[in-house]
Symmetry: C2
DNA sequence: AACGTGGCGTGAAACGATTCGCGTTATGTA
DNA sequence: TACATAACGCGAATCGTTTCACGCCACGTT
């Protein structure tokens, strides 16, 4: 049914090799260019990706494995990644593993069987075992957002400097005089949560201050979790003077808890978020936040992978790109009661 | 490098045809089953999808084109669709066209070139031209959430009865005595927005009531849009006694506007939402809403497509599945001041 | 005892591109 | 004019499955 290169050869009178060469960007006489172009249009020809793949062993398809498609940050990354790859002719197979390690492993296998040229992964499993099938088959891998130490040297990665981001955010609060700072974190054991926690402590340490341990709340990066966590902070005997929420879903939940309790920001409480999506702008115009460069993360990851695919024979150079964040000033943070707590 | 069926044939001493048959679920002597299984394991063999595709012209890959990956409803559908399809061995290429008709068309072409076996589409373009390349090549199509009349008979579809849903929701308010009802709609011209608008009018008409025209606000289905729209309703000279928000993003935005203005639900205002995600439960435990069966929508769409793929030679029977919604009772709606407005 | 039947197995011909190693032609130089 | 060189074109093999058309064998039936 569909037209093949043989049909084009027949119509144009050219050889297969010539047509193939032209279709792949090679040099051909102008007359033949035109001939082929016409024939392609007339027959509505497109290259058969199966046949091409069979010869070249390349699918021009990339697999993306993420923990949850419902999380704004992940979705955003997927969008940028997909855009960048599609512009280079790559399609993207998206796999949401529901934060399930078993499912994640299954999906990597699935993608490998589908013969993807590379894999992008925001890992759920902390140890990286799930990627073994891909490594075994030499499928290039780029991790995003979360590192896996045991895999260093075998994969590339793109992360933001989470500890630094958290340090900067905390510093803003501490230097504003806050001492009783609440922090709502992601799940214990998740790379980003640990890093952000570390930065929080470091900022205190650098200033010779102790951390207000009661203010530390581990949650789950969901809107609901943020809501519950904020409620918990607000119902404790001692209230924080500032709260740092470490992702955008939780920020949404937390802010709903705030307005429920009629707590004014920043009059009653200073409020700082991690990663404020664009659509927060109208809602929380004053919100101070740490911004992750979503676009850059996605593009960098895609480009890193594309480079690995280019480097045909030379041994691949794995690298980890660390992107920096910036604090986006708002008015949701104001000076706190500096004197309230003692320095060490 | 990778093992092929030839290797298996060599090791087991069997013919290619036998191995192929077994691998595709055919009957083979138990002894040979074991032989093949062992060899497969030993060689770490997996079928080469390129070669298979070349012979069968099937990629076992489905393309999904949606307007925005950042919208909870769409993402949710993608998740269910992907799950259902993966269980049947199909991979999913996800394309977010950013509500851009030109991009949407481009993506359909891209998917067709990638030789997807079928396309699932929540259409952005209202006329369906963008699907022509797929139709020309006989790629089965299932539309989701939004119908395209000119394509009737050429594609299948899965929608919910939006008019009915909206009618039921509106009826709840009207029968509760509300007359000045605000409704926050999606963009004019978008299928679901029009349908929900129609249902809103019908509910009034059925009761011989006139619509409070000032309460109709077209927005854009975003959180930000819902926020702005609600603010607009609240700043008009005459306030609504109830507001119906027609998607979940806008509900979130609208409810933030409400708490900003310290408007209590349902004391000051009755509030009804369309499609409340699970994670709203903790935040708005009392919210009354119209529920769309996300899971069923995704599964039905996937299954409809799978059926079309099965029906190998017989002419495909196109059908449109219309799923129903249900009103999930909460306490965010309470009787309104029945007498305030006159019947016709 | 002859014969039909059904279950399994096999060889070889596709599917439609890419690519290697050569041939042919045009161009520039001595 | 002859010849080196570059530019371009061509034929044929090849990638790894699927599938068609048979062949073989063991049964059970009459």
């Amino acid at each position: 049914m569909a037209a093949t290169m043989n049909d084009i050869a027949r119509i144009t009178g050219l050889g297969l090799a010539t047509i193939s060469k032209y279709l792949n960007g090679g040099n051909v006489l102008p007359r033949n260019k035109a001939l082929i172009d016409d024939a392609v249009k007339e027959l509505n020809f497109t290259v058969n990706t199966f046949a091409r793949g069979l010869k070249t062993s390349r699918s021009h398809t990339i697999g993306v494995v993420i923990p949850e498609l419902n999380f704004a940050f992940f979705t955003s990354i997927v969008t940028y990644v997909t855009d960048t790859l599609r512009k280079r002719g790559y399609a993207v197979l998206v796999c949401d593993c529901r934060t399930d390690e078993k499912l994640e492993k299954e999906m990597v296998g699935f993608l490998v069987d589908k013969r993807v040229d590379g894999i992008l992964n925001i890992p759920t499993s902390p140890n990286g075992e799930h990627l073994q099938p891909a490594l075994d088959r030499g499928v290039p891998i780029v991790l995003i957002d979360r590192m896996i130490q045991p895999l260093a040297g075998q994969v590339s990665g793109v992360i933001v400097d989470n500890a630094d981001a958290s340090r900067k955010a905390t510093a803003l609060l501490l230097d504003g005089g806050h001492r009783d700072i609440g922090i709502i974190l992601g799940p214990k054991g998740v790379y980003t949560a640990e890093q952000r926690y570390a930065g929080f402590r470091e900022a205190h340490g650098q200033r010779g201050l102790t951390v207000w341990e009661e203010g530390i709340v581990y949650s789950d990066y969901t809107m609901e979790g943020g809501y519950v966590a904020m409620k918990k902070l607000l119902s404790a005997p001692q209230l924080p003077t500032a709260v740092f929420v470490t992702n955008s879903e939780m920020t949404l939940g937390a802010s709903i808890a705030l307005s429920e309790k009629q707590i004014r920001v920043p009059e009653d409480l200073s409020f700082l978020s991690f990663d404020k999506p664009d659509l927060f702008n109208a809602l929380f115009p004053t919100l101070t936040s740490v911004q992750q460069p979503h676009n850059a993360i996605g593009e960098t990851a895609a480009n890193l992978l594309l480079n690995m695919l280019q480097a045909d024979k030379e041994p691949i150079q794995h690298q980890v790109a660390m992107l920096s964040t910036q604090v986006l000033p708002g008015t949701s943070v104001r000076p706190g009661p500096r004197s309230k707590r003692m320095t060490i």
